[in-house]
Amino acid sequence: MSRISWLTAICATIFASTTPLNAEPAPAPPPFAGFYQPQGVDEIGWWREDDESERRLAASPLVIRDEKLSGYLKEVLCRAVGDDRCNATRIYVMREPTFNATMSFNGTMRVFSGLLLRMRNEAELAAVLGHEFGHFESRHGLNRFKAARTGTDVLAWGALLASMGPSYDTRRTYQSMEISVYGNLYRYGRDHEREADLLGLGYLNKSSLAPQAASHVWQNLMGEIEASAVAKGLKKPKFNAIAFTASHPPHGERAAYLTALASPDSSTRDYGAQRYGETLAEWLPTFLDDQIKLNDFGGSEYIIANLAKDGWTATLWNARGELYRTRGNQRDLVHAVQFYSNAIALDDSLAIAHRGLGLSLFKTGERTRGQQALARYLELAPDSDDAKMIQMMLPQETPL
């Protein structure tokens, strides 16, 4: 079946249903047609017609060059969309703190570290990557499809999954929403979103992973945005009131709809939480640190609490300590002391927790206890980059 007629068939199915909640499970995707190839031959012969931007990307200082990590992401993508598609894709992990993943015409996928921080398991990651892929794959048909579409409103959802990275310009546009901090949203027409999401869910339905995870990603992101706004003393974003979301159902409805699109027998499938957690463990402290240093108290609290649903670890307690110590009012510092102590109780060898504890104790006026903690920090990490500075804070030995 050609792409156009396949898409038209899908739309016909949708239009036939009375309400979104009666939608059929998303169908399996069509055979993969391959990526965009540059048109035209380079007769001049100066440089090969490779994708310029991928070449530059590969040489970018922002790429995280960790084969284990990118290899794992590739595996997850393969589980999500199948081997045909994933083998034509190259994945780059970027050291960027916001929630975003992008895909280029020729199959270059970039995943931001901020996104990896926010995923709780493989199924959620697969949902996002699959959605990206679906968006991208359906675009070719979209332009042609635009001419043929019926014009009937189609419920679109999941736009947030196709979020863009923040930019100075677009952030200001969305400032009232706070979504700007989390990535901006494509104002795709509802039809376009719809096609992408159908494809994305279609992949997942066919895959071994639980497609219900797609709705969890949405819920978590909304929760984070709300928490961020509340902590800043701003009103909770009214997702319905904002232009782009007027074309999307409110998130409760969306979650239900997403669940309906997931094929019914899939809910017992794998979420891959353990695999995901293990692979990310090495990078988690770094990505958490990157997030905390963005000075978004509410958002960071939310993310930490979410991660802690699977159990509090020394890393998570330490991160919470850093968060509170950074904001640093007196109440915060008292909490920070508690959090760092919790981290140390779970792992006494976590040097930075001793450092945080020591500094927080100093700041609440408990110098002696603070010095003890800092001394322990220096014991554990004598070569740390601030060792000499910390040393100055300890009681100085008097010369004999």
């Binding site: 001049i44 310029e52 931007s53 040489a59 960027e96 280029s104 931001f112 991208f136 675009r139 930019s167």
Partner: protein, 219 residues
């Protein structure tokens, strides 16, 4: 142009041309999709045509920089980013009359043009085979730079009017031994839509106007 610099046509000097950094409509990192890959491909091949033209006119030997891989690629990329920063500084603080840095004003009076990429350029792949390096940096950012994203409207497909953001283009000639910038042409408000052949030619023509030893600007 650096004082005392002249490049004569057919002088036998070799010019190493680095892979032009051409991006149309999107950035190399943080860009959602890159629907303008088509545009970029077109722009690139058009610029290549114009460069071939340049070679013919100049009669200097123009060599293509060899492909760089791994660490080398990172270094080339960093030089390109530095070239863009230096070019922007030259525009901001030496070209723009109202904005000149006082120390540069004095330079201007003494006819001094003192900008450099540093002598690390001599280690770039291919640098040992040429005297000068030509850097071309062209960025049509419809909206923003760096990690920023295209104006969403651009994604609805070609033919949709795109709100222009930044258009920057720099072409610079570097002494491959010292890294000194010998000649720079830069235009932060260039005309010509590089997606069209005419636009590309115009853009490259603008960039290469007054290229030492050429007669390009005069046509």
């Amino acid at each position: 142009m650096k004082q005392g610099f002249e490049l004569e046509a057919n002088s036998g000097k070799r010019i190493l041309v680095f892979r032009p950094s051409v991006s149309v409509g999107s950035q190399s990192t943080g860009g959602m999709f890159e629907p303008n890959a088509e545009w970029t491909e077109t722009a690139k091949s058009n610029i290549q045509v114009a460069l071939t033209d340049l070679q013919a006119r100049l009669g200097n030997e123009v060599i293509v920089a060899p492909e760089a891989y791994g660490e080398d690629a990172l270094v080339v990329e960093e030089h390109m980013a530095l070239f863009a920063a230096v070019s922007q500084a030259v525009i901001d603080y030496q070209f723009f009359v109202g904005n000149r840095l006082p120390t540069k004003k004095r330079d201007n009076k003494a006819d001094v043009f003192d900008w450099s990429l540093g002598d690390g350029v001599s280690d770039l792949p291919g640098a040992d085979q040429a005297d000068y390096g030509l850097f071309i940096f062209n960025k049509d950012a419809y909206g923003s730079t760096g990690r920023k994203i295209l104006q969403v409207v651009a994604l609805l497909g070609p033919g949709v009017a795109v709100k222009s953001g930044e258009h920057v283009g720099y072409a610079g000639l570097i002494d491959l031994r010292t890294g000194d910038l010998l000649w720079l042409n830069a235009d932060a408000a260039m005309g010509g839509d590089v997606r069209e052949v005419d636009g590309s030619e115009k853009r490259v023509r603008q960039l290469l106007e007054d290229f030492p030893g050429s007669d390009i600007g005069e046509e």
